[in-house]
């Protein structure tokens, strides 16, 4: 008995070590970026993993000045804010209708939304449409396209979550004299909070990190931070210290959002995904 227990503990220690090594190996690129972002251009060209000779905080100042950080960030906030709010509203309402009204129409709508997860977006015809509506290179154009693209996943997540909201609550609300709007906004929506947070985080990341839509439909003055990185990289192609500083600045918002919301995200995602 003793030896097998010891073997188990020994095995477990080995496994822990293995996982530690794998995780360290996995995350070392991030370390490389962080540490080189504080080096001089010459030093950073070697991509070494050691600490900088002298910490060049000036790199970040330079990136701030040259890489349009402020504008890109405000573009990102505008887009994620508007789209986040609208997506949340529209998708939750749609999910509510789908899960409570079990008609053929709502089922069809649900599968239509689902198909959007697989269906590639037809970029050129969208370009054609936006052109006719004079929405090329406007915030509105980017917003409507991205909003439509977030519908499938958002509706999917909300619908999955709606299953866990018992119909009894609806009935209780109705008995209390709630109208349709009050029923949804006052009673149901607050209960959807985990799904809401998940959807918000998903959409935040999706919009903030979007590449294709902005590349096709808007100019650089409307781009979000990651797109600006691409442009910055094109111009400062060999000054890796600056590029890395830009990468760090661009990633901080997203990582922060993730850190804050990660608890809710796991439960929200899996409730919909695993059982669905």
């Amino acid at each position: 008995m003793n030896s097998s227990l010891r073997k188990q503990k020994y095995g477990k220690r080995l496994l822990e070590l293995a996982v530690f090594l794998i995780a360290a190996f996995f995350i070392f690129p991030v370390w490389m970026v962080v540490v080189n972002s504080f080096k001089t251009e010459k030093e950073a060209a070697f991509f070494g993993l050691g600490f900088p000779d002298k910490w060049q905080f000036v790199n970040y100042a330079k990136v701030f000045a040259e890489a349009n950080i402020v504008q890109a960030m405000s573009n990102g906030l505008l887009l994620t804010g508007v789209i986040g709010a609208l997506a949340l509203l529209f998708a939750s309402m749609a999910a509510f209708a789908i899960s409570r009204i079990g008609t053929k129409f709502t089922s069809f709508a649900y599968y239509l939304f689902m198909s959007g997860i697989v269906l590639p977006s037809a970029i050129i015809p969208t370009f054609f449409l936006l052109q006719r509506l004079n929405l090329i290179n406007t915030y509105t154009g980017v917003i409507v396209v991205l909003l439509s693209m977030t519908m499938p996943v958002s509706v999917f997540l909300y619908t999955g979550f709606m299953k866990s909201v018992p119909k009894e609550l609806d009935e209780a609300g109705i008995i209390d004299g709630c109208g349709k709007l009050r029923l949804f906004f006052v009673i149901i929506l607050p209960l959807l909070r985990p799904a809401t947070i998940t959807v918000m985080i998903f959409n935040f990341m999706g919009v903030w990190n979007d590449v294709t839509t902005q590349l096709y439909f808007s100019n650089a003055d409307k781009w979000t931070m990651p797109m600006m990185v691409y442009r910055f990289q094109g111009m400062y192609s060999s000054q890796w210290n600056l590029i890395f500083a830009d990468l760090i600045l661009t990633s901080i918002p997203v990582v922060l959002v993730y850190m804050i919301g990660q608890k809710y995200m796991v439960s929200g995602m899996t409730t919909g995904a695993v059982k669905g």
Binding site: I27, F47, I117, L129, M227, V274
Partner: protein, 294 residues
């Protein structure tokens, strides 16, 4: 599902906003590609749009690049789905074992998925740098210098280099979904198996895998579809190069869009959409059957 009388307390108009935007800006363009793909629309004659029959499709078949991009897209998809899911399951299994620092590891593996591909690509450009990139430097340091390659400009390795980056960037989600699935497996099953004297691999094959089939299906379908649709990964790292060796569908469409061939790229998009739908359908059917069998 019990039917509630819709007009009384639930209204179908709640579907309206979502459905409207989705139909107008997503579904309608997809239908439009059925028309635009058969025209000669280009930026050279932006206001004249004429039907040109099957010309676009004939041009597609004449272009070697089209065949290359099909091959590349499928290669990328299969390899990245395989690597992501196999490694993902293994790591999820290990993380499921209640080790120390578990939630830290979960974050570590998930962080890359929060980063934009435009952030990840420069990182890998640096890693793959022929002279100073850490990969080649490490190879030289341990005496395997002859293995050091020009990872991104050598046509033999470029596609695989992109795959590695794709796996790194998306394995976090995979691990998460597998972890969630594993956590739904009741512990008693494992305990019963332990009592019966089952080893690690037997527990894996007979308990874990069958019971997380839904997770497996979801993961494989999602990573498959994502693989077919890949664009940013290739665009940001090699832009289809070197010499079109890494062109995939997404970049091919963009390349033709950039050249002003709007009708032609719609046609490519149309073919692409059909291929994605067809293969996803086949995949889902296959997974469903596997689920039942296992």
């Amino acid at each position: 599902m019990k039917k509630y009388s819709p007009s009384r307390f639930y209204t179908r108009s709640f579907l309206l906003p979502a459905l409207t935007f989705y139909l107008v800006f997503f579904i309608f363009p997809s239908l439009l590609s059925l028309i635009l793909g058969f025209t000669d629309w280009s930026t050279y004659r932006i206001t004249e749009i004429h039907f040109n029959g099957l010309d676009n499709f004939k041009m597609m078949l004449d272009e070697p690049i089209f065949a290359t991009s099909i091959v590349n897209t499928f290669y990328f998809t299969f390899v990245s789905v395989l690597l992501t899911n196999v490694l993902g399951i293994l790591i999820a299994l290990v993380l499921n074992m209640k080790l120390r620092l578990q939630s830290l590891y979960r974050s570590v593996f998930f962080i890359p998925t929060t980063l934009s591909i435009l952030v990840i690509a420069p990182i890998f450009s640096a890693l793959y740098h022929p002279q100073f990139g850490p990969i080649n430097q490490a190879l030289r340091a341990i005496g395997l210098g002859f293995l050091a390659q020009e990872w991104l400009v050598d046509a033999r390795y470029a596609m695989n280099s992109i795959v590695v980056m794709a796996v790194w960037s998306s394995i976090g989600v995979t691990i998460l979904l597998y972890l969630a699935g594993l956590q739904t497996v009741p512990k008693d099953y494992y305990e019963a198996a332990d009592i019966d004297g089952c080893g690690f691999w037997q527990k894996l094959r007979h308990i874990s895998l069958p019971l997380i089939m839904p997770s497996i299906t979801v993961n494989i379908v999602l990573s498959f579809v994502g693989g077919l649709k890949v664009f940013g990964h290739v665009y940001a790292l090699t832009n289809g190069g070197p010499n079109d060796a890494t062109q995939v569908f997404g970049t091919l469409i963009f390349k033709n869009f950039g050249a002003g061939l709007l009708g032609y790229s719609s046609a490519v998009g149309l073919v692409f959409t059909m291929i994605v739908c067809l293969f996803t359908f086949i995949l889902i059917a296959t997974m469903r059957r596997l689920e039942i069998e296992l």
